[in-house]
Point group: C2
Chain length 215, copies 2
DNA sequence: CAAATTATAGAATATTATTCTAGAATTTAA
DNA sequence: TTAAATTCTAGAATAATATTCTATAATTTG
């Protein structure tokens, strides 16, 4: 592919970011379907032409937004991991897993609009347009998990499907988060922070003991 | 509201069902956004006028589809619960919880297109149009869970947020299912059937022991 | 500074959802 | 059985919306 690298200055990058925030507000308020380009134009102050110049089409706006959201998510996970390593010289698998739950709960609680959008578009976006762009972002968490396990010498982990294990860890949190973000449950996700961490650890222990779920 | 009850014959009900199946195929193949009314017209053999006569608009087609999907899901859960009661006179909480996981895994595995659609639209649909219509459907599972717990005299359950507990049980399964349905993981959900059941039980035990997660 | 590139604007166009009108099929009620 | 009422079908007409296009302004590069 002729990757005709356009020069993008910092100022325009910031404008794009602002436009994405405006778009996110629209999506949050009206949903993706219902927001029109016109609405985004209004909210962002950009012209239709500029929006299309920068993003290509509505789908790609969502795509860019998704990637931006994932970057924020990856950032906090990395941060928490770093902190854990700094504070405890020999963190166990339990600490590692709970840390992952905390990072998830905290990011979602602190960035509900981003989280709602990311959850809702993880599916849609991935199968359309510029996939390659965020291939890396998504798997950050997974890679971290497996290197953790390796680092801590949990041999049983190698025989487990990494996707299966991460579902155990984040599944309940994400499931509840979706409900909470959609307003279908009132008790904030954050109130179950500790309980989800405990449950994740218990679940992983459960399969490590039985241990026959090879992939 | 003037509930001007239209008379709906069995034949037309069947036609509607057929149209919904056709719509589901379109959505499965192209995604909701990308499928046009025209496509659904083609696939269903109906005219645009008929489609709008029966469903109202594109969103309502999705809504009807969602409800149809949820009915199928509720049916299998009810079935599994009945079978469990029939086969074991005094089923424990462990059996009950594993049964719920099995029902979920089996329905999703057996109806991937429906599952994909339901997962993707649980959010969208709920916040638009005719909400009341499926208020009941969705909560079937939850109600069953709490009556199970009551039936089995698990007192600790009363102090737990029912939404929290059902996230523990179905969260990992659904999380993995989403990935699998989107083609992002290859190992079929069904291969982890037993492991997810074990994990759910372990997770619930984990919070029951700690038990301080009151709502 | 001049050429080249990138950004902005909004009108023009194309696509798609929705509405509308007329008539066909079916049901209801006598 | 038949006529009125209701429901269904069809596709053209319309409206809403996404996308493209053309022109110009701003910015960067050499």
């Amino acid at each position: 592919m002729g990757s005709s690298q356009k020069k993008i200055t910092d100022k325009t990058r910031q404008k794009q970011r602002d436009a994405l925030i405006a778009a996110l507000q629209c999506f949050t308020e009206h949903g993706f379907e219902a927001t029109t380009i016109e609405m985004i134009r209004d909210a962002s102050g950009m012209s239709v032409g500029s929006l299309y110049h920068h993003f290509g089409n509505k789908e790609k706006i969502a795509s860019a937004l998704f990637r931006e959201g994932m970057r924020g998510y990856a950032r906090i996970v990395k941060q928490y991991a770093t902190d854990l390593m700094a504070n405890s010289p020999e963190p166990g698998l339990e600490q590692g897993i709970k840390m992952l739950v905390y990072a998830n709960v905290d990011w979602i609680s602190g960035n509900p609009d981003w989280a709602r959008f990311v959850f809702h578009h993880r599916f849609t976006v991935t199968q359309s347009g510029d996939e390659g762009a965020f291939r890396g972002d998504i798997s950050d968490f997974r890679k971290m998990l497996s290197s953790w396990a390796r680092f801590m010498g949990v041999a049983e982990f190698d025989s487990l499907d990494i996707n299966f294990v991460s579902s155990l860890i984040t599944g309940p949190t994400h499931n509840y988060a979706r409900q909470w973000l959609a307003g279908r449950v009132k008790t904030p996700l954050s109130e179950h922070r500790e309980a989800f961490a405990e449950a994740a650890w218990a679940a992983v222990q459960g399969v490590l003991i039985k241990g026959s779920s090879t992939s």
